[in-house]
């Protein structure tokens, strides 16, 4: 396959960036999107040019490191079903197609270089309450704490979040509420999360606001691009739990 690429190049956090054009030639249809960039980078290196910098790690869709906004959509066109950029294959594109490759954009995700953005704001939100303080020890006996199947399932659904930040990048408001909703719901839906439920919710929302993320206005773009298929009902739960936690704090 041959493709025309328009790639965001930016030397440093403070440098002015721009779209640069490249031809990706002889790309096997079974290459992943990142492998396509690897092939292009080999060519750039051979010519003595600076390779395109992008984030990646596991390349199997579980670590949340890869990013890229592809033709305006984080992790690429959504009609291809939930996927990360590393699990997106070139056969899903057509020969000769023009592809825009840009970073995950948000004020809270400053660009480090080219397509790499700093997503540590999400880690700081996680550190503000996305855990259970008690030392958990080794795995508890099976069925020592009974959890109804439906609750276990809905907690697992929220826990599937890999923290990639596509929700923020897709949101016209750069809101992190799908991420925070997933992290809050995951623990607030389980018995182990109950003692710190209110404090966790208040702390994580406070940190989310401090980090400068926007406010959800129910566009639901996040849900459409989420590679882990986190539903926006985690945001429903966040809205509910936040109000409950605020009232509970006020009257206690």
């Amino acid at each position: 396959m041959n493709l025309k690429l328009k790639v965001w190049r930016q030397k440093s956090a403070t440098a002015e960036g721009r779209l640069a054009e490249y031809e990706a030639r002889n790309i096997p249809p079974d290459a992943s999107f990142l492998e396509m960039l690897d092939i292009l980078n080999e060519e750039l290196l051979a010519k003595g040019d600076e390779p395109i910098a992008f984030d990646h790690d596991c390349r199997e869709g579980i670590c949340g490191s890869c990013s890229l906004t592809i033709n305006g959509i984080p992790h690429g066109p959504v009609n291809l079903s939930a996927t990360t950029t590393c699990q997106l294959y070139m056969r899903k594109f057509t020969d000769g197609q023009t592809i825009y490759i840009e970073p995950f954009r948000a004020r809270s995700f400053p660009i480090v270089r080219d397509l790499i953005v700093d997503r540590s704001a999400l880690d700081r939100i996680q550190r503000s309450g996305g855990y259970v303080t008690a030392r958990a020890g080794s795995a508890p006996d099976g069925n020592a704490i009974l959890i109804p199947k439906t609750e276990a399932d809905s907690a697992m659904e929220a826990a599937a979040c890999i923290g990639c930040g596509a929700c923020v990048a897709s949101c016209p408001n750069a809101s992190a509420m799908l991420f925070v909703g997933a992290k809050v719901s995951h623990l607030n839906r389980l018995p182990q999360g109950q003692p710190e439920r209110h404090q966790r919710t208040l702390n994580m929302v406070k940190k989310m606001d401090e980090e400068g993320f926007g406010n959800c206005s129910n566009h639901y773009e996040c849900e459409a691009v989420c590679p882990a298929e986190i539903p926006v009902t985690v945001i429903t739960q966040l809205n509910r739990d936040y109000a409950a936690a605020s009232v509970s704090k006020a009257v206690s």
Binding site: Y100, A174, V232, T233, K249, A250
Partner: protein, 249 residues
């Protein structure tokens, strides 16, 4: 339990220093709630709900114009027979309206700042005309409300209305016989209902009452309700323009 799982060790280990704290005392509850992103969303939804209540109530009142002329005139007299209640309702609505506008504009400004620079290629996963135009549709509704109040409540835009006293029936029909007045009215209620086609379904989500099983019904039901309301409001100027409604005298 707090000693084991509690907040004290966490607060000292994890609390980030020197950021504005969301005070937790009851006195500051409202202020800190309002300062938070989710608190503002709750205010928008609460005030939106109050406005929706009015939009529906007002429609039910207006539709009485299709009855005998006395019917809507008696209804208007009934409302004016309790001036105190009328002013309480008006004040609450006015406060809700301004709080709604103030808060949504604040949210929109914050959101723009949070997004910062956008990508060159912009795309969404599906078309979203109502959602993208909330501020514009809202502000046009605001300009309509100002005109509408001047027109039918203060009656300062049309000299003929002065002689009509409580004859609301004739006033509305005379008013809508002007195609410009009717056209602006139709456009405005269209925009209001576009606003509500996203607004209705947003309220349960903001209040934490959405769920996987209810979701489809909430979305479809909200949109249907918005367009039913549009049909109701639009029917009056259309009936006047099509001469189905004519002055009694």
């Amino acid at each position: 339990m707090d000693a084991v799982l509690g907040n004290a060790p966490r607060a000292s280990r994890h609390a980030a220093p020197n950021h504005s704290s969301y005070s937790t005392s009851a006195v500051n509850f409202l202020a800190s709630f309002y300062r938070s992103s989710i608190g503002k969303k709750w205010i928008v939804a609460l005030t939106g709900l109050a406005l929706i209540g009015y939009v529906i109530g007002h429609l039910v009142g207006n539709l009485q114009i299709f009855g005998a002329p006395e019917k809507i005139n008696q209804y208007a007299e009934f409302l004016h027979s309790m001036p105190r209640a009328l002013w309480v309702v008006r004040s609450v609505l006015l406060a809700a309206f301004f709080l709604h506008i103030f808060t949504t504009i604040k949210l929109a400004t914050e959101n723009r700042a949070a997004k910062g620079r956008t990508n060159e290629m912009r795309a969404t996963t599906s078309p979203k005309p109502a959602k993208k135009t909330m501020v514009v549709s809202g502000l046009l509704v605001l300009s309509f409300v100002a005109y509408h109040l001047a027109h039918f409540t203060a009656r300062i835009t049309d000299a003929r209305f002065e002689k009509l006293n409580h004859d609301v029936h004739t006033m509305v029909i005379l008013g809508f016989q002007n195609p410009l007045v009717s056209g602006f009215y139709l456009l405005s209620v269209f925009l209001l209902c576009l606003h509500l086609s996203h607004g209705f379904q947003s309220v349960p989500q903001t209040f934490g009452l959405n769920s996987k099983s209810l979701r489809n019904a909430i979305t479809k039901g909200g949109q249907a309700l918005a367009w039913i309301i549009f049909a109701g409001y639009a029917s009056i100027p259309l009936a006047v323009l099509l001469k189905q409604l004519t002055p009694a005298h």
